[in-house]
Amino acid sequence: MAQSNLGGDPLTNRVDRRVIHRALVVLVVAAAAFFLLTAMGSPALADTAIASSHASAAAGDASATATQTISIHAEAADATTAPGDNRVIQQLVNGLVFGLLLALASVGLSLIYGTTGLSNFAHGEQVSLGALLCFFFTTQQPVSLPLIPVEFTIGWPLVPSAIAAVAVAAGTGWLQDRFLWSPLRRRRVSIVQQMIVSIGLSLALVNFIQWWFGAERQRLTTSIDTRLDLGMFSIGQSTLWSLLISLLCLGGVAFFLMRTRTGRATRAVSDNPSLASASGIRVDKVVRLVWVLATGLAAVGGILLALYDNAAAFDVGARLLLLMFAAVTLGGLGHPFGALVGSLVIGVAVEMSTLWVGTDLKYAVALGILILVLLVRPQGILGRAERVG
């Protein structure tokens, strides 16, 4: 599957030269526009504009190969020499952590796309739902359910609440597929229609979550994370636990996909649903399982990200959704391992970009990468070269 395409056939892997020219022109125009705007905005900021367009160019190159990213960024850092060595490494570590946590959410998105062909715009809300459900179970404040005017306190410890939250979130995945997506598939509703349904679902869910948990940022835990100083960089103790959990989950998914019978069936459905169905695989069962797995993983990602960021609000998932799409597209739509690689690249690019551009623009960098990937290699790093238009 995924790996067999890595080396690839030289004909299909070669990027069309015209496409590269097109990408370069768009990049130059965008950089020039940004530079012009900044220059118009304030002459004093012109210098930083050069640096930032420089950085976005470097970030753009990063989309070409995962491995070169680091070296390009390091070179760019040497060129500007503004940030110290430690900050570069610190941001690199932060980026890898963020990328690994993001991967939990994007792997699910990619699995859903692979098995059903649906770009699920409501996946971001599953991330926020996981985080806020965990808050719901763990907080010491009184909580209530929407439309029911009774307040009560649950206040479980963090770990059982997290497990309960993941279970409930995975349950919503089961419910969604049982009562929404599988009837739509049976009615042969087209993929485009299903995509707009998922947009409606995302609009409904994000507002439902806001209605339920309020618009404030909620903290999952009040304890302060002790930071371990490891010489070149420092990292929080609970972040290390998060990393471990994230790696275990991703390892579990990889083991499931590569080694178990059901996992092989999932990959078969991903490859060709009709053929899989004809060879005796129950496609609907597999898809249902994928929905449960994807929503559960998204909830794990949401909880860990909320711990990493110290707090979560109702719109955290909506803001991450486009980063997930960027990661999934970069790795190759429908390839779970591509989603992992893509997430790491996006995570590193997002965090490293704060060395040159303001933190309020760090997500913009990821979206820039996404657009560049669509220009140069729409099938992504691991994707098969196929006609996509």
Binding site: R22, I148, V197, A204, N207, G389
Partner: protein
Amino acid sequence: MDILLDSINEMIAPATAAFALAAIGLNFHFGLTGLLNMGHAGFMLLGMYGYAISTSRGAPIWLALIIAIVVAALFGLLLGWPTLKLRGDYLAIATISAAELIRYLGRSNSLQSLTGGSTGIRGNDFKFTFEELSPLPDENITFLFWTRHGSLSSSWWLVIVSWAAVALFALLYWQLARSPWGRVLKGIREDEDAVRALGKNVYSYKMQALVLGGVIGALGGVLWALGNSVQPDSMGRPTTFWIWTLLLLGGAATVFGPIIGSMVFWMALVAVKGIAGALIPTSVLSPVEIEPFSLVLVGITLMCLVVFRPQGILGNKRELAFND
């Protein structure tokens, strides 16, 4: 009674007209050509910025409008160039990202002096050229049950101008949709390969539709800004999704669909908020919860519309852009 009057007031409000105009633009994309533009709010935001920034730096109103149009057209060209050759959902992801990119740039601190950062541009800085043109008296005017100012902000003057613009562009849509040009676009929507086989340059036609619809969206954004202010976060993804909902509600690929859709959408939203506020006790649904509650209903409406009545109120089931 108050709820009814408020709803009707919302129906004729300039913001409703602005959304109707933006939806006419989206109708060129989706209804006529079948393009999945999920970043329409980006076009609106660019139009707003183009108009407001140039006006606040002393440009006359005609120049400001031209700048808004040019900026949106350039954005359309830049966006369409790489993406129009890709499959539908790639275009959706690319447009939504590009629109968010515009919003992030607009609200970033590095462009603070130009775009005003996340607080945006105050109405007083760019509305005066439009308000000076008003022939109406400079005072509150009551017409039947509704009172608005004659020429300031969300005024009767803006009501007249914006609905006139909506009528004009609806007429344009009607004429273009039945022209040979419009028939090619409909052909692309139905079967791209067939049109290509007839020797038409599909890419170029799609690009023309994208740019034209985007420019109309930008003008909708200008109208919206004239009634409110330029605020990047008001033009985020939800705005795009609302435009989609009201377009599908009224009926895509129809002349009056966007207009009816916008009127019904905003009227229903105000009515639902009013009724929910009046009937449901505050212990069950507190005032701060009414807004998200009504938007949950919007989301559910969008889902149900797409599944059960994709042609909307006015549409024709045979003329649907959902063919994959």
